[in-house]
Amino acid sequence: MERSDTLQEKMEQNGMSRRTFIKYCASLASLMALPPSAAYAMAEALGKAKRPSVIWLPFQECTGCTESITRSHSPSIEGMIFDMISLDYQETLMAAAGHQAEEALHAAMKENYGKYVLIIDGSVATGLDGAYSCIAGRSNLESLKEAAKGAAAIIALGSCASFGGIPKANPNPTGAVAVSDIIKDKPIVNIPGCPPIPVVITGVLAQFLTFGTLPELDKLGRPKAVYGETIHDRCYRRPFYDQGKFAKTFDDEGARQGWCLFELGCKGPVTYNACATTKWNDSTSFPIESGHGCIGCSEPDFWDAGGFYKALSMPADPLKMAATAAVAGAAVGVAISFANRAKKGAAKSAHETTKLEDLEK
């Protein structure tokens, strides 16, 4: 495999001009919250960079992260794969399968030992020695340890790889953990989100290639440029929060006026991510713009945080629920569920306004 190609050479081969590349870098600089002028420095440094080998291993995951990345708008996955990196192993995208795929993985690891970037999506099952999630007869735990040895850096893509995610949600039957719980001797960048914002990964790779370093990380190992501010800080509904104007239900006058969704359970104030500015679906909108609060998917243990429709100011009571279930058995939980369904049904049939408590389990 040709490794001597620089991005500049690849660009010239593809008929891409310097100005085109500067535009590309301008979009990356924008994403990484670098000053717009950094686009020129990035273009120069990236132009001279060699294409890094990237090995991407999927563990306990739903492929949502891959779906997100492959539907990224700009730069496109094609651009990322062919112009910026040498994606040597990715089970969902590669044509090879079975023994052929495993051979490709080991050849890439051997050839680029100490230099490749390892991307992991999905959590790592540790229960029963990792037997809950295996590929080619080997546990994810074993594969991770082996692949991490020769990696220059690891990118934990998505909330599952970053923090354990949904597989780790109570009662965590597979003993799911984050990549950083297993690997302690390599630089790890967490890019959480369920799924993560697609272009963040390209931005991290671009920074790695441009400056030879990983971006500055927060205490949870996330790039500060993207996760440095809360959804709330950048939300267009923030002025309503400051004015004390809150939607009380999803169909009241406040909701129609676009007021703050804090009281409807929005987790924006405690969720660090760039959805409010980067947005989704070709920058069309983000959940709050569609009238639903942020669920905090880029934060650790978001699934067990006490209810998507509970305001942050309300006490979360998962312990109470757990104790109830433990004492009275699963039947109580079922009864509560039926009772709530009945309440929802009654509200619906009476054309009542749905209230918070109707939505809460």
Partner: protein, 140 residues
């Protein structure tokens, strides 16, 4: 029960709300212009990095107005660089080859940096022109 058209609903879309955040952008631009005049330092603001509503953007655009120059650049998709009513302040919108906006900036510069050709590009152009002339001469 009233019919749906009798229910008084006033929907304000995010695009119609003025948040007041565009005011700060104008002040920042004024500071950048002063730096350009005093020290020749160029600056830019990433509009997509700010939490501006649609209404804020319209307001800002109105405040900045239009100048005499508009530059169209075709490089991996179209870019439009428009001088505002304030010389030295440019509105720059980069689109990709699928016509999607990839960067939206306010640049404060005498000429936006992307317009000025790079030394290497000029050198290559010069060599290419000389070759062309040589070929023509040889042909004659």
């Amino acid at each position: 029960m009233p019919s749906i058209d009798q229910i008084p609903i006033s929907i304000v879309s995010p695009d119609e709300m003025l948040t007041g955040q565009a005011d700060a952008v104008l002040t920042e631009i004024a500071g950048m212009l002063k730096r350009l005049l005093d020290d020749g330092i160029e600056g830019s603001i990433d509009l997509r990095g700010l939490a501006l509503s649609g209404a804020d953007r319209v307001w800002l655009e109105k405040q900045l107005g239009r100048g005499e120059v508009e530059i169209m650049l075709e490089a991996g998709g179209w870019s439009v660089l428009t001088e505002t009513a304030y010389p030295g302040v440019w509105k720059v919108m980069h689109r990709d080859d699928r016509d999607r906006v990839v960067a939206e900036l306010i640049e404060v510069a005498f000429v936006p940096a992307i317009i000025r050709p790079d030394n290497g590009d000029v050198k290559k152009g010069h060599e290419s022109l000389l070759l062309n002339l040589k070929a023509k001469t040889a042909g004659v």
